[in-house]
């Protein structure tokens, strides 16, 4: 019996070791950027991205693509997140797999941080130049000071080719054309190697003689002053003078070589131009809203009034970049990312055309696995359990009206 027990113990130990070893070699691709782990209320109640377009799915190294669209800055911005008075239009990619060749808000280049107004809608565009081959999840993103990164929808883009062929040519104001990928590299290596060698020379000057044990004995016995000779002092002085002379001299020659230099540019860009969205003639009141946990469905009771002059139907509910569509009214033709698109996810109890002047109370259900996959259901664990989103109404001619909704959300666990 003991032999069997020993064998089992040994085999178990070997199995454990093999498991650990196998685990070390298991390195799956990390392909997300934490977009799903960001608090749901942050994604639902801050920046609403819509009309997004990724110009290409596949792009070769050195070629460009754009991400364009609009974002609405939610007027009911949560108190727990700093307002977007200092924000930066970023792009959510795993490092510089693209370079950001340009980014614009309302037609203005935004290489720096900007100030955004609550309740406004802005048009944006980001121009990307492919740099590193691979499959990359490319997200829209707005960084907000005091709020953190607010990540928007992402789409997979494949970059083909070789990074070795990537060039980033820039012409300076002094007329020189350089490749920013490799510019100044030899100069950096030279000066660092030079100073490192000088530092090593100083170290070598001392290390060549006996160091710790005999010197400690000498210091302990009161003979510390005998350890530094006059010659040592001369050499040290030489090092100091040479150091200062090289610093001064190299600074002088650098200034001669680069007579035109400017300080780093910084500062907040204000006055971003919002787009004037057509005044909505549809008013919506949220009577109640609940999220049914087992059914992965959000249900709302809305009282909708059409104050316009043409009948409208509800076609889309958009929250946190997830689009719930009523296919009878709207079908996506923009190749929006599949995982964020619930093509048949919107059910309206009565979605017949709402006539001008008519008021109707309707039950709306937005259901899709995206609630769970994108962890939007976690809203019920957030400090501010309210939801927000965009409703899009369409008339018979396809004219669109956008209505913002914002209300408390009550979870239902049964």
């Amino acid at each position: 019996m003991k032999i069997i027990k020993d064998k089992v113990a040994k085999l178990s130990f070997v199995a454990l070791l093999m498991s650990l070893t196998a685990a070390m070699f298991y390195t799956p691709t990390a392909s997300a950027h934490g977009e799903k782990s960001q608090a749901a209320f942050m994604r639902m109640r801050t920046i609403h991205w819509f009309d997004l377009n990724w110009s290409k799915d596949t792009v070769a190294v050195n070629d460009t693509m754009t991400i364009s669209g609009k974002f609405h800055v939610f007027a009911g911005w949560p108190e727990t997140v700093d307002k977007p008075e200092v924000s930066f239009l970023n792009i959510g990619i795993p490092g510089p797999v693209f370079i950001r060749a340009g980014s614009w808000i309302g037609g203005q280049l935004v290489p720096r941080s900007v100030s955004l107004e609550l309740g406004e809608t802005y048009e944006f565009k980001v121009l990307l130049k492919a740099r590193r081959p691979g499959d990359w999840h490319v997200h829209t993103m707005m960084n907000v000071q005091g709020g953190g990164p607010i990540i928007g929808p992402g789409k997979w883009v494949t970059v083909t080719g070789s990074m070795g062929s990537f060039v980033n040519n820039i012409t300076t104001l002094t007329g020189e054309t350089i490749n920013l990928e490799t510019y100044n590299l030899s100069n950096i290596y030279f000066w660092h190697a030079f100073w490192y060698a000088l530092g090593l020379a100083w170290l070598a000057f001392w290390v060549k003689r006996p160091l710790f044990v005999p010197r400690h004995i000498a210091v302990s016995s009161g003979k510390a002053d005998t350890l530094i000779s006059a010659a040592d002092k001369k050499v040290a002085l030489g090092f100091a003078v040479a150091t200062i002379a090289i610093v001064a001299g190299s600074m002088g020659t650098t200034n001669e070589k680069f007579p035109v230099t400017t300080p780093l540019q910084a500062g907040l860009l204000r006055g971003m131009q919002p787009i004037q969205m057509p005044e909505s003639t549809v008013s919506v009141k949220v009577d109640d809203a609940s999220y049914r946990v087992p059914g992965r469905a959000m249900q709302m009771t809305l009282t909708v009034t059409n104050n316009g002059d043409s009948a409208v139907r509800l076609g889309e509910f958009n929250t946190a970049g997830v689009r719930f569509l009523d296919p009878a009214v709207l079908q996506d033709e923009t190749a929006y990312p599949d995982d964020l698109l619930a093509e048949e996810g919107l059910t309206v109890s009565d979605n017949s055309p709402l006539a001008p002047g008519e008021t109707r109370t309707v039950e709306i259900t937005a259901s899709d696995a995206a609630w769970e996959v994108y962890r939007l259901a976690d809203l019920i664990y957030d400090p501010d359990s309210r939801f927000a989103g965009l409703l899009f109404f369409f008339d018979a001619e396809g004219n669109r009206q956008m209505v913002m909704i914002d209300a408390p959300l009550i979870p239902s666990f049964i």
Binding site: H33, F88, N90, P94, G95, P96, F98, I99, G102, L109, P111, S113, Q145, P149, I170, T171, L173, T174, E176, L180, E181, T182, Y183, N184, L185, N187, I188, W191, H192, W195, Y196, G199, W202, L203, W206, V207, P210, L211, V213, R215, H216, V219, A224, L227, I228, D232, A236, A240, T243, I244, V247, T254, F258, T261, T262, P263, L264, Q265, A266, G267
Partner: protein
């Protein structure tokens, strides 16, 4: 061999053992300082040292020497007062820079593909050499702090200027003027480092016009003096020998 007998049997053997100890201790000091100093500098100097678009003429000049004179002061205190060895600052900075280059090359470039010309470390060696020489020639804590600390701050910017000046050449980009360093920061996307985090060109030194770097360097030198004193005593405390009464053990 009993405990009271010597481990060596001749003077030659003693010298050999002593030299072996030298290399072992030097290697240990170098790697321990590399680790500790590197973490300290990344936490306190961080982005100012990581990116060219943070290396400005105000805050980088001010912050980098102040937070980097720490370990040199402490290691100097240990090596000078216990061994009369005046290379504490240089050995610390050499260790730091080796660690930084390994990190920048293997991590920043090798893993995440930021170009090395965008994420190279600052050069701290000129100030370290002068700091060691001042300590050796003066053999005085006060003189080293005041003269060496000030020199450490003053030499930082000119010691780095030949490396960063080419990146301060201006460029016109889509209707805006920026430096090549700014353009690097814009081009090479850092998802977790938005532009507003950059602490550059902030402050109230506006009356000095474009000649603000020397003022910042002097200020940095003055604060470096204070930090030198503080970290010198950390070094003294860390390297002291305490004897414990055997009856209490």
């Amino acid at each position: 061999m009993s405990a009271s007998q010597s481990a060596v049997r001749s003077r030659a053997e003693a010298v050999q053992v002593s030299r072996t100890f030298d290399w072992m201790i030097l290697f240990t000091v170098f790697t321990a300082v590399l680790g500790g100093y590197h973490i300290h500098y990344m936490l306190t100097g961080g982005d100012w040292d990581f990116w060219t678009d943070w290396k400005d003429r105000r805050l980088w000049v001010t912050v980098a020497p102040i937070v980097s004179i720490t370990f040199p002061a402490a290691v100097q205190a240990c090596l000078w007062y216990r061994y009369r060895l005046p290379f504490g600052a240089v050995v610390s900075v050499l260790a730091l820079m080796l660690g930084e280059w390994i990190n920048r090359y293997l991590n920043f470039w090798g893993w995440t593909y930021f170009p090395v010309n965008f994420c190279f470390p600052s050069n701290l060696i000129p100030g370290a050499i002068v700091l060691d020489v001042v300590l050796m020639l003066s053999s005085s804590l006060t003189a080293t702090a005041v003269i060496g600390g000030l020199a450490y701050g003053l030499l930082f910017y000119p010691g780095n200027w030949p490396i960063i000046a080419p990146l301060h050449v201006p460029v016109e980009y889509n209707g805006m003027m920026m430096t090549l360093a700014d353009l690097q920061g814009y081009h090479y996307v850092r998802t977790g480092t938005p532009e507003y985090i950059r602490m550059v060109e902030k402050g109230t030194l506006r009356t000095f016009g474009k000649d603000v770097a020397p003022v910042s360097a002097f200020f940095s030198g003055f604060v470096s003096i204070i930090i030198y004193f503080l970290w010198h005593f950390f070094g003294r405390w860390f390297s002291k020998t305490d004897f414990v009464d055997s009856s209490n053990v």
